[in-house]
């Protein structure tokens, strides 16, 4: 046990726990000490009940002692983004609106993690209601990039990525609506997977844009990401859009060296920082050298993705966030008056600027006289984008691009320009629009800042993405690099 426990991968921790070389209590104790030392610097967690964590750890150790261990995640802490319900824990979505709420129920993924013996380890910061790409929109605290504390960690799952990169926890859950797992993973040098839409139940995930949202695993290595994915993926009768895995989804996808990799035409062109382009090109060359077939593919409607996404996502969000009105739970304004004045005041006080901006935009694109020009056209554009991706993926196994065009920017740098910020997601959005699985894998640095590449596959082809990621990871070892804090 020479290595500091906080640097180890979940798979290794699992081996030590299984061998009796480590207890969950010792592991959690070490991570809680790390939390005391580091969390105030990076601001990854918004809530951590230390007594509860240790009680869970003791229960896990007792199960293992009794020979009733529940599998590879037994005793391993998994931190959870604060938009995923865990019974008895806060569910704030990093919003003032839900600051008073304690969830009275468990999400499906929380149930799965409990059933797997994992330790439900604290709440992770995020952009308010998952709206943002920098975690600057949190109403609770700032989260900073562990590789450069003057920079953003990405978002909206910025707390998840920062917690992993700074060794606060080995595994984390994020959610991804347009890149919210993959973009912060890229910025923080960790691995993030957005599963096929419907692979993991959304029951208990606070909706931002229901047709795009997916919960996904985040970890410091592809192998760990796979470990967590296997625990989460299952059908759930409480989510009509969840179908769970098919036979091949999680089955190791054969020989990664025989994968056919498509490079979308023009994707390494304008707007991509030279060092990002260089790192991604090096990854392509790595795969070519491994024997993968590399070809260029056409995605003619790529330019439609961002506008389509912002119409669909904000339309759904404007409706999804209608329920936050101060009547049944959450923040209620002290303003007296009629119920409608109370609701309006509660919403105006409870939501931050980005959330208000998106609610207004979404309300507009659905409103009488404009819905056909915006919302309905966006649905049609979405169908077109989906068809183009599926056609491209009929000829290749995965599509490879950068995850984000540029490395992590400085805190406050893009705060006044929402449109610039929306363009951060240009490579990640199509996978959400088309419901496809996608992964971000670290592939180098731009200066001192991590860079990731992005793979998109056909529906339920997670195993191929993971196999491709592991091939790269094994050869390069970025997973073992951690920032000095």
């Amino acid at each position: 046990m020479a290595d500091a426990l906080h640097t180890l991968a979940a798979a290794e921790l699992g081996r030590r726990l299984a061998a009796g070389a480590l207890t969950s209590r010792a592991l959690c104790g070490a991570l809680l000490a790390r939390y005391q030392a580091v969390n105030d610097k990076v601001g990854a967690f918004t809530h951590l009940d230390q007594a509860d964590v240790l009680a869970q750890a003791d229960a896990s150790d007792a199960r293992r002692q009794a020979g009733q261990g529940r599998g590879p995640l037994e005793g391993i802490p998994v931190a959870i983004k604060d938009n995923i319900a865990v019974k008895g824990q806060p569910l704030t979505c990093s919003s003032k609106m839900l600051a008073p709420l304690v969830s009275p129920y468990d999400s499906h993924v929380a149930e799965r993690l409990r059933a797997a013996g994992a330790i439900l380890y604290g709440r992770l910061n995020m952009d308010e209601f998952a709206m943002g790409s920098s975690t600057e929109n949190s109403a609770i605290r700032k989260t900073l990039n562990p590789w450069d504390l003057a920079r953003i960690p990405g978002g909206s799952s910025g707390g998840s990525a920062a917690a992993l990169a700074s060794g606060l926890v080995p595994l984390a859950l994020g959610s991804d609506t347009g890149g919210s797992i993959r973009q912060p993973a890229s910025h923080c040098g960790v691995v993030g997977l957005k599963p096929t839409y419907g692979l993991i139940s959304r029951f208990g995930l606070v909706a931002f844009a229901s047709s795009l949202d997916q919960i996904g695993p985040m970890a410091r290595s592809v192998e760990d990401c796979e470990l967590l994915l296997n625990a989460l993926a299952s059908a759930d009768a409480r989510d009509m859009t969840c179908f769970g895995p098919s036979d091949r989804t999680l089955t190791p996808g054969g020989d990664a060296q025989k994968l056919r990799i498509g490079i979308p035409k023009g994707f390494l062109g304008k707007g991509v920082a030279p060092e990002v382009a260089a790192a991604v090109k090096a990854a392509v060359e790595f795969y070519r050298a491994q024997g993968c077939a590399i070809s260029e593919v056409e995605l003619p409607s790529a330019d439609l993705a961002v506008p389509t996404y912002y119409v669909v996502a904000t339309a759904e969000a404007s409706s999804n966030l209608g329920r936050y009105d101060g009547v049944r739970y959450g923040h209620r304004s002290a303003t007296a008056g009629t119920p409608f004045e109370m609701m309006t005041a509660s919403r105006s006080e409870g939501f931050g600027p980005e959330v208000k901006r998106r609610i207004l935009l979404g309300t507009f694109v659905l409103s009488a006289g404009y819905a056909d020009a915006y919302y309905v056209r966006a649905l049609r554009a979405r169908a077109k984008i989906r068809a183009e991706y599926l056609a491209a993926l009929a000829g290749v196994d995965v599509l490879l691009t950068p995850t984000v065009p540029t490395p992590a920017f400085k805190v406050g740098e893009k705060a006044s320009d929402p449109l610039q910020l929306y363009l951060e997601d240009i490579f990640t959005i199509p996978a959400n629009l088309a419901g496809l699985p996608a992964i971000s894998v670290p592939c180098g640095k731009s200066g001192h800042l991590p860079v990731g590449f992005h793979l998109v596959g056909a529906p339920l082809s997670e195993a191929k993405l993971l196999a491709a990621g592991r091939l790269f990871e094994t050869a390069h070892g970025y997973a073992h690099q951690q920032p000095a804090l």
Binding site: P100, P104, S211, A237, M240, D303, L304, V306, P307, T308, Y310, V311, S318, G322, D325, G326, V327, R328, Y329, G330, H331, R332, A336, G337, T338, P339, F340, E341, M342, M343, T344, A345, R347, S348, F351, P353, K356, R357, I359, L360, L361, T363, F364, S367, Y370, A373, Y374, R377, A378, L379, R380, A381, R382, A383, K384, R386, A387, P418, L419, G435
Partner: protein, 96 residues
Amino acid sequence: MAVGFDIDHLAKLARLSLTAEEKALYSSQLNQILGHFQALADADLPATIDDARVVDEAALRSDEPGPVLGAEAVTRIAPASRDGQISVPRVVDDEA
């Protein structure tokens, strides 16, 4: 795409009250964003939306009553309550 949104109307529909500064800021930002959406208006799009999201009756729930929260749990998380009910300011007849 000619954009002629009425920020006051939108705020009313969304139940948000905006200061004059917020109205000015959001109006200009929304205009900028909607300008970027011009690509949508210009695009050649399929006439029909291929609905990939179709389920059959197996996805339906059986008519079996399940557990409830109970009034105590409902009112515990409510900002204000009385006698097992959630209280709100008095509703004037069809104020909506």
